[in-house]
């Protein structure tokens, strides 16, 4: 699946039937520090990744 990372770079990652949480973890990001957007809607991280899909990770950065 295609993933747009918070730092702006994008990557094609094979989902292999895993949850998006597992895929994010493998990329060295903490899933609780991002929200996942797919087609403009937020989806929970236990959603199974699908290779034909594109998701965007939104970093929850700190700031009052």
């Amino acid at each position: 699946m295609k993933i747009f990372f918070p730092d702006g770079h994008e990557e094609e990652i094979s989902a292999r039937g895993r949850t998006i949480e597992a895929i994010i973890l493998e990329q060295g990001l903490n899933p609780i520090e991002v929200l996942i957007s797919r087609d403009g809607a937020i989806i929970p991280e236990d959603t199974i990744g699908i290779d034909s899909e594109t998701i965007r990770l939104i970093r929850i950065s700190h700031g009052g």
Partner: protein, 302 residues
């Protein structure tokens, strides 16, 4: 084909959030409801509410979410809301975030007041930082706190709600515990009737939920980050606790709750040094000269 999204545990809508501890899924409406219920409970704990609640509103996502939640609760909390923004004067950063803050208030129909560091201290944070070697976050924190008090006093506000969430609370607890100043940690500093009372309606709402709330309200903007380096220790602790929360869901909440529990139990048992009125500005503080005046005075001697 879109991957299957789990259904809300309370209705047939698609989930936007999963509670990692309980495995409960929530849709947009139920997530909002869940956040608002916790905010309402916090506020009702206060008992009799004054006619106005000031909301410390930086324009960042936490305070944006808080302002939106309070605005959405206006039937259950029938008070006048006033958003209070402090413009510290940070070039290349505050212009955009202040204009976002203005926009949010217009959308939510909430009154908005802005006070600048220049008005109060005669200098912007950028200018002050040129003549001090203290950390920007420390300086800014001290001056912003006072600025908010000045603005609240001007507006006759006795109760200020701040956007601190459960994660902030947990981080502060650990930072304080590491500093080992138990008295300061759990008893807090002295009180004065001149200060507005402060409440944290998001104390039981995670940072993730607060951000999601702002997004679902359509008020989340990808705003620039503050150019000053943040508190390094807080950054490390934040990363550590997030890792813990990822591996042991519920840790963050437990830590935040433990602090509250200890604080409540220690109340009235630890002697707190009473505040004195500052010889220069008259505001209550610790020592003859308050923190604000010692900061500003140091600048003047240069």
């Amino acid at each position: 084909m879109a991957g299957e999204v789990r259904t809300c545990s309370s209705c047939a809508e698609k989930a936007v959030f999963v509670d990692r501890e309980s495995g409960t899924h929530l849709c947009s409406r139920h997530l909002k409801e869940s956040v608002e219920t916790r905010v309402l409970a916090r506020i009702l704990q206060e008992g009799q509410l004054p006619g106005i609640i000031g909301v410390a509103f930086s324009g960042g996502k936490d305070s944006t979410a808080l302002l939106a939640a309070l605005a959405n609760l206006k039937e259950k909390i029938p008070v006048r809301l006033i958003a209070l923004t402090v413009d510290e004067g940070i070039n290349g950063y505050r212009e955009e975030t202040i204009s976002h803050a203005r926009e949010v208030c217009t959308i939510l129909g909430v009154e908005h007041r802005i006070i600048t560091f220049s008005e109060i201290y005669g200098e912007t944070l950028d200018e002050i930082m040129r003549t001090t070697n203290r950390k920007a976050c420390t300086v800014c924190g001290i001056l912003r706190r006072r600025a908010l008090e000045v603005l609240a006093e001007k507006e006759g506000i006795r109760l200020i709600a701040t956007g601190h969430n459960q994660d902030d609370h947990a981080q502060t607890t650990l930072m304080n515990a590491l500093s080992a100043d138990i008295k300061k940690v759990f008893a807090g500093s002295g009180h004065s009737t001149r200060f507005a009372h402060r409440i944290k309606p998001f104390a039981a709402v995670s940072e993730r939920e607060a951000s999601l709330y702002a997004i679902l309200a359509g008020l989340f903007n990808d705003l620039p980050e503050c150019p000053y380096a943040g508190d390094a220790l807080r950054g490390e602790i934040r990363m550590l606790l997030n890792q813990f929360e990822q591996e042991h869901p519920g840790s963050m909440r437990n830590l935040a709750q433990a602090e509250e529990e200890i604080r409540t139990r220690l109340r009235d048992k630890v002697e707190i040094t009473p505040l004195e009125n500052c010889r220069i500005c008259g505001w209550p503080g610790s020592g003859e000269i308050c923190q604000v005046c010692s900061l500003i005075k140091k600048n003047e001697t240069r």
